[in-house]
């Protein structure tokens, strides 16, 4: 019999049951989805790095390493594997300006690759090319095709033996100046040491890749010891593919651990109120069952099973939604797929999400249990008495003059609000929560835009960047700089304590490159010190006036620099002027020239390695923006849907609770529209208050979010007026929509029925 009642009750309160299920599903879905996303990236890239033997450390020497040196390193204690490694960009003959990053590893288990098609890797093959499958696909190259690759005077002619993916090239870009992979023009390939030797004669290996659990200091000491000279040591954190993959996961984690928690909170809290109200409405029934002699335990079990079922359906739907959201943010065909080239995109449900799912189900069941117990308290007679809301007492505000000027509608609403405090608070909380989420999400987008605007519209005023060839001599460089009338720069890799940083020398007589300070003001660079980016200043606790030491790689020199100022930067760098470089005793060999001329106006020159228009750099940022925007849109859409469901649910509750009052007003002669306006008025006030509270709180949450992302970006919090208006519009629109939906029910008020029974 009780089972039959279960289904009837479900039907009776279907709107409320459905809204509870939806709320839980959205709360769980967002939480699980966002967290699955970063965990999946972390685990999938992690296992990819593992499978391809991604090196923990790289020793780099411009003089190269001998086989003997490699053997000594490999045989040292604490080293799992070590292989000589070479990588250089080669031109692909017959494919326009296409280039490949060509890698050779002496040991395929160190910085190797996965073969996805074609023949397995053979390190004896002296004509085999194992080509990036993405590049092959983008350029219609198949296994069996022959390719000719040119590097300066060397030529590698061979056959494509297999199509591969490599951890080293998870993010396949030419250098730091290219942000996004573009497989139409740039890919990677591996050849065997045998092939390398055949083509080059004496193979030159400028790197040793090492797999080891030792610390960076231990490796540095070990290298010094074994080799008898100082070489550059890079940890994997200093390698682009690894650092960016980790950054992407960190970014997702920041996005996943702040806003989605809010979703869960809103869902659970609203569930508490709704469950309590539902059991309150069922109180006479509960009393009747008790009077009929049903044991408390059975009644409790019966009502708790509603909560359990709602939880089960909500959590189940939420899990499904979570998978969908995670897939939507990271799938190989989406923006993330443009960025990361990895074989496994399996979505992974982290353990803590399973725990949250179980905890949610238990919490919801307990909420149901608690609500019934409250209604069951006392004897059968107590239980039979209908649940009565609190007696009305005058509000404190009623003593004020203002109160006397309030109309009947305002008084009715204010008293209703104070009589049903928890319902009102829940509505307010829902609106505040949604406002916070929308403000923070849109603000994230604003902040990105402001950063890009600052960086690409205000800080960099050049049109074209010319990168000079490594072997270009000083005179040729000067000539190019002179003929295009531009600013120039050079970059030196150096060690700040144990971190590899880029020391950049900028000569900017033309003001084509400028550097924003913390407040986004552009101060000209002075010649008495170095300008440190915010991330480094934070990490090494550097402020103006402090001194620090830099050790450029490839030598034993130590330079002591003074901090002249802090700058906001895209990469982690330190900027100085040529004059300060001279004072320090650093030589300035121009590497890049910035010019206001268009890319097309730059003539071919053997001293020029590449020419980039600023626009291509900006465009490649779009993919990053896209990845962020997908998250932003999902958050906003979910916030709006959740807001509508929460408000509708509470609106229906309020409507039911005021049904008799509204019927009375209707009998007295109030028109439906007028009653509707009273109802809508209350919601609008709550929304307005929610906005007033939610906007500053949202900005605060955005600040927390940006702090969590501080390791990734040096962005200054920005929330535009447009964002505030859009948020206000969304919230008001959402609230209006819900109010109208609820108020439309006024027409269906059955005055005769409503007046039949007593309170």
């Amino acid at each position: 019999m009780l089972r039959k009642k279960l289904w009837r009750t479900f039907l009776l309160y279907k709107a409320q049951f459905l809204s509870m299920i939806l709320m839980i599903a959205i709360g769980i879905g967002i939480f699980v989805g966002f967290n699955m996303e970063w965990v999946s990236i972390e685990e999938n890239t992690g296992s990819f790095f593992e499978e391809t033997g991604f090196a923990d450390y790289r020793l780099i020497s411009e003089e190269g390493f001998s086989g003997e040196e490699q053997e000594k390193i490999r045989d040292s204690a604490g080293i799992d594997a070590a292989a000589r490694y070479a990588v250089f960009d080669v031109d692909v003959a017959g494919f326009g300006d296409d280039a490949l990053s060509l890698s050779v590893t002496e040991d395929a288990s160190v910085s190797g690759f996965l073969v996805l098609a074609g023949e397995a890797y053979d390190d004896e093959s002296d004509d085999g090319i194992w080509l990036s499958d993405r590049y092959a696909a983008a350029n219609d190259i198949a296994v069996g095709d022959t390719l000719t690759l040119d590097y300066q005077r060397l030529r590698f002619s061979g056959e494509v033996k297999g199509l591969v993916k490599a951890g080293e090239h998870l993010i396949c870009v030419r250098d730091e100046t290219q942000l996004m992979p573009d497989y139409d023009t740039f890919g990677f390939a591996y050849i065997s040491p045998a092939f390398y030797e055949r083509a080059a004669g004496v193979p030159f290996y400028p790197q040793i890749h090492i797999r080891s659990a030792l610390t960076k200091n231990q490796i540095t000491d070990l290298a010094d010891d074994v080799l008898g000279r100082t070489v550059m040591v890079l940890t994997k954190d200093e390698v682009l593919s690894y650092a960016e993959a980790k950054g992407e996961a960190k970014e997702g984690k920041a996005m996943g651990s702040i806003l989605p928690v809010l979703f869960l909170l809103i869902a659970v809290l609203t569930m508490v109120t709704t469950m309590h109200r539902l059991t309150a409405k069922e109180k006479p029934q509960i009393g009747t069952m008790k009077a009929l002699g049903l044991k408390d335990r059975r009644i409790t079990r019966h009502y708790t099973s509603y909560a359990f079922l709602i939880g089960l359906l909500g959590v189940g739907a939420g899990l499904g939604l979570g998978y969908y959201i995670a897939w939507y943010i990271m799938h190989p065909e989406g923006s993330m797929g443009t960025y990361l080239d990895m074989p496994d995109w399996t979505l992974r449900l982290p353990l803590f999400c399973v725990v949250i799912l179980a905890a949610a189900e238990i919490a919801l069941t307990l909420i149901g249990y608690g609500s019934v117990r409250r209604m069951l308290a006392g004897n059968a007679a107590d239980a039979l008495r209908p649940y009565a809301p609190k007696k009305m007492k005058p509000l404190r505000a009623e003593k004020t003059k203002l109160w006397r000027r309030l109309g009947f509608g305002a008084r009715w609403n204010l008293r209703d609000v104070s009589r049903h405090k928890s319902r009102t608070l829940m509505s307010l909380f829902g609106v505040v929560g949604c406002t916070m989420i929308i403000i923070a999400a849109l603000g994230m987008s604003d902040t990105m835009d402001a950063f890009l605007d600052l960086y690409y519209d205000k800080a960099t005023l050049y049109d074209t960047r010319i990168n000079l060839a490594d072997d270009a001599d000083g005179a040729a460089s000067e000539a190019i700089a002179g003929s295009y009338g531009g600013d120039t720069s050079a970059a030196v890799s150096a060690r700040l304590e144990d971190k590899a940083v880029s020391l950049e020398i900028y000569d900017t007589p033309g003001n084509l490159v400028r550097f924003p300070d913390e407040d986004d003001h552009f101060q000209p660079l002075g010649d008495d010190g170095a300008y440190v980016c915010l991330r480094l200043s934070r990490a090494f606790d550097l402020s103006p006036g402090d001194t620090f030491t830099l050790r450029p790689y490839g030598g034993d020199d130590v330079y002591t620099l003074k901090v002249a100022g802090l700058i906001r930067s895209v990469s982690e760098n330190i900027v100085i002027t040529p004059a300060y470089a001279e004072k320090l005793g650093l030589s300035y060999d121009i590497h890049s020239v910035y010019t206001a001329l268009a890319k097309e106006e730059i003539r071919d020159d053997s001293a020029i390695a590449s020419v980039q228009s600023k626009q291509t750099i900006i465009d490649s940022f779009d993919t990053f923006i896209d990845i962020m925007n997908v998250m932003v849109y999902i958050l906003i859409a979910a916030a709006v849907v959740l807001g509508v469901v929460v408000l509708y649910n509470l609106g229906v509750m309020s409507y039911t609770e005021r049904y008799r009052e509204m019927a009375t007003l209707k009998v007295v002669g109030f028109k439906d529209k007028k009653i509707g306006r009273l109802l809508i008025g209350q919601n609008m006030w709550i929304s307005f208050l929610g906005l007033v509270l939610g906007i500053p709180l949202g900005v605060y949450v955005l600040g927390v979010l940006l702090d969590a992302l501080a390791g990734e970006y040096e962005m200054k919090l920005a929330v535009t007026a447009q964002t505030c208006f859009l948020t206000a519009g969304l919230i008001v629109g959402m609230s209006l929509l819900v109010s109208v939906l609820v108020a439309r029910k006024n027409r269906k008020i059955d005055m005769v029925e409503a007046l039949k029974a007593g309170e």
């Binding site: 009947f408 009589r419 007295v668 028109k671 529209k673 007028k674 005769v752 007593g758 309170e759």
Partner: protein, 233 residues
Amino acid sequence: MPIVEFQNVSRVYTGGEHTLRALDRVNLTLDSGKFIVILGPSGAGKSTLLNLLGGLDSPSEGKIIVEGRDISTLSGDELAEYRAAAVGFVFQFYNLIPTLTVAENVALVREIVPDALPVDEILGEVGLFDHRNQFPAELSGGEQQRVSIARALAKNPKILLCDEPTGALDSETGAVVLKLLLSMAKRHGKTIVIVTHNQAIAKMADVVIRVKSGKIVSREEQAEPLGVDEVEW
């Protein structure tokens, strides 16, 4: 002069296979300024009749003419206007708004009736001026019903409709309330229709109508009804 005229009015409830004629082809005229009592067993159709007259419900067939206007075909909003302007209701269960004070419960009619009577004056008449700032839950049943009467009168309607106004009160309180209701109605010159079980009230009525199974079984005009103070309660 008739203020109300029922012409062949039926109210049929159709639920599933059953149809129930709560009112069955009723013809009835009520004169202005009269005191009309409707008697009848439970389920006879008394409330149905009152609700139709009050514009809370519309007839399935027939016409209801109030002051020359057929109200049976009015739209929802027109009915609301009719209720606001023409009728005052008093119900068994008071139907006050719990979150409004006594004075506010009466004053709310000012929202819809521009020429409503002054609230304080009406509250004085029902003897509740001192309770004006209390909430309904703080009053006794009789007092609550008096608020309800004040609210109905404050609209200054032509017709006062009372559906078992003393049904939820003990007989003593009921008598006080009824007395008040009648004297107020007389003083303000209202047409008043009361549905009741109380036989005593019938003696004071100008017209006594008996209803049974949806039909009017008798209609008595009493040439010399007793005055409020002449009746033994």
